[in-house]
């Protein structure tokens, strides 16, 4: 068991340097291919480099997110960054709490973010998607969409909050919380700093 934990620590600790090493390798490959006039190989290597950067940026975002919000502790084992170059940049995931819990997901560099922004900023479209369970709220100055999604097993409400900021979309899924608790949770994220990292 101890050796397993050591192995996990070794792999986890080593990952950032592997990722950064990969970035440099991909850049070296891109340069070499471009000099040789191999455009498609250059393209592929640059895409890989972009993917590596998305992974690094995702990990930097996780570093500045709070470890504890109110009484909810972050679950580091659930931290996850997935790079998906192009249509969706990277997906960054963190969860908080156990019974009363929240999951946070940030998608950056996604053209789909513009679609949600269009909905939130257009009176006509915003009105069309609004019903008794959905409303537009402001989180740190960003117009956001809050949706009540039924109740959990204990009869407490579940919420889904979408906050588009910069070119990223943060989605908070909160279980067993009141509307005020969900908004307080969302307000504790350093959105401006995250925006600087992911823009």
């Amino acid at each position: 068991m101890r050796s397993f934990i050591i192995a996990v620590c070794f792999v986890t600790a080593g990952y950032p340097s592997i990722a950064q090493g990969d970035f440099k390798t991909q850049i070296a490959t891109a340069k070499k291919s471009y000099s040789a006039g191999k455009l498609e190989d250059t393209h592929f290597a640059l895409q890989q480099a972009l993917q590596e950067l998305d992974m690094i940026i995702g990990k930097e975002v996780l570093k500045i997110m709070p470890q504890k919000i109110d009484s909810l502790n972050a679950n580091p084992k659930d931290d996850h960054v997935a790079a998906n170059v192009g249509f969706v940049g990277a997906t960054i995931h963190r969860s908080y709490g156990t019974q009363r819990n929240a999951e946070v997901e940030i998608i950056n560099n996604s053209p789909m973010v513009n679609t949600l922004n269009a909905f939130l900023n257009s009176g006509m479209l915003g009105g069309m998607v609004r019903d008794e369970n959905t409303k537009v709220v402001k989180v740190q100055g960003y117009k956001s969409r809050l949706e009540k999604q039924g109740d959990n097993a204990n009869g407490k409400p579940n919420y889904h909050l979408q906050i588009p900021f910069s070119n990223a979309l943060m989605t908070v899924t909160a279980n067993g919380m009141t509307e005020e608790q969900v908004l307080a949770l969302a307000n504790s994220f350093p959105l401006q700093d995250i925006a600087k990292l992911v823009q």
């Binding site: 850049i27 471009y34 455009l39 250059t42 895409q47 560099n109």
Partner: protein, 260 residues
């Protein structure tokens, strides 16, 4: 007589602010001018006619002037790939990952545009007796850096026959086309007419479609995300469309785009 001519002119001026009737007005104005000149000899009322035409030329209806022309935008050179890669390395070393990302995206745009221009150079000319019109050549790439290259060329006989070929590597479009290829209901036919059907171009799965208003459209899916589309206006029949498509080096294009 004079009175009737003036009334006629007033009638003309009252309509002059409606641009949609420009053609109609022009004819009326000519008639009015002819009538005035005939009656009064020299151009006594020419100033009226000119003011009418000036207000029309200025196009200031609604209080907002319309743009009559300008220098347009100058073509920018594609991003310098080597410079962008060097910038990305510098930004990465300084832990400015967002800047590094931007530079990599710019480098990708630069590579894609070069790739597109090479593909344009490799396209055949002429195609079924239609000459290429290089003024309409287009290569575009978006900043997302993945499957967003679009290449377009137009071939024409400078009359009414035209072929537009578009090559793109956008997974989204290609995915839609693949829906056709994999959908049994994608083939429409009734007892007498068929306006869409599956076919093959040089061994690649293809769809050909015909509409009276658009002519023939032929689509070939290349590999995972690339696609080539021929839009043929005033082609005699589908054989001519297939002959045009067969003159393109599909395997060469596939290879350039890194598709299998």
């Amino acid at each position: 007589m004079k009175k009737s001519v003036l009334l006629w002119l007033l009638f003309v001026c009252s309509f002059a602010v409606q641009p949609v009737r420009a053609q109609f007005l022009k004819k009326l104005k000519e008639k009015a001018n002819q009538a005035v000149n005939k009656t009064l000899g020299t151009g006594e009322t020419n100033s009226n006619a000119n003011s009418s035409s000036a207000s029309q030329d200025n196009n200031t209806y609604g209080g907002k002037p319309t743009n009559k022309g300008g220098g347009g935008l100058k073509n920018t050179t594609p991003p310098d790939v080597q410079q962008q890669i060097a910038d990305a390395e510098t930004a990465h070393t300084a832990a400015k990952y967002s800047d590094a990302r931007y530079s990599i995206q710019q480098a990708l745009v630069g590579v894609e545009i070069q790739l597109g221009r090479e593909i344009l150079k490799s396209l055949p000319n002429p195609v079924v007796a239609l000459e290429k019109d290089t003024t309409q050549d287009k290569v575009s790439s978006t900043q997302w850096g993945w499957n967003n290259l679009t290449i377009q060329r137009v071939y024409s006989d400078k009359k009414d026959k035209q072929l537009t070929v578009t090559i793109g590597n956008n997974a989204l479009y290609a995915g839609m086309a693949n829906l056709y290829f994999n959908n049994a209901y994608g083939v429409q036919a009734d007892a007498s007419n068929q306006n869409i059907k599956q076919t093959k171009v040089k061994g690649n799965k293809a769809i050909i479609q015909y509409e009276d208003s658009k002519g023939y459209t032929l689509m070939v899916s290349m590999g995972q995300s690339a696609m080539i589309v021929w839009e043929c206006i005033n082609f005699a029949d589908e054989n001519e469309v297939m002959a045009a498509a067969n003159s393109f080096d599909i395997d060469g294009i596939k290879k350039s785009l890194g598709e299998q």
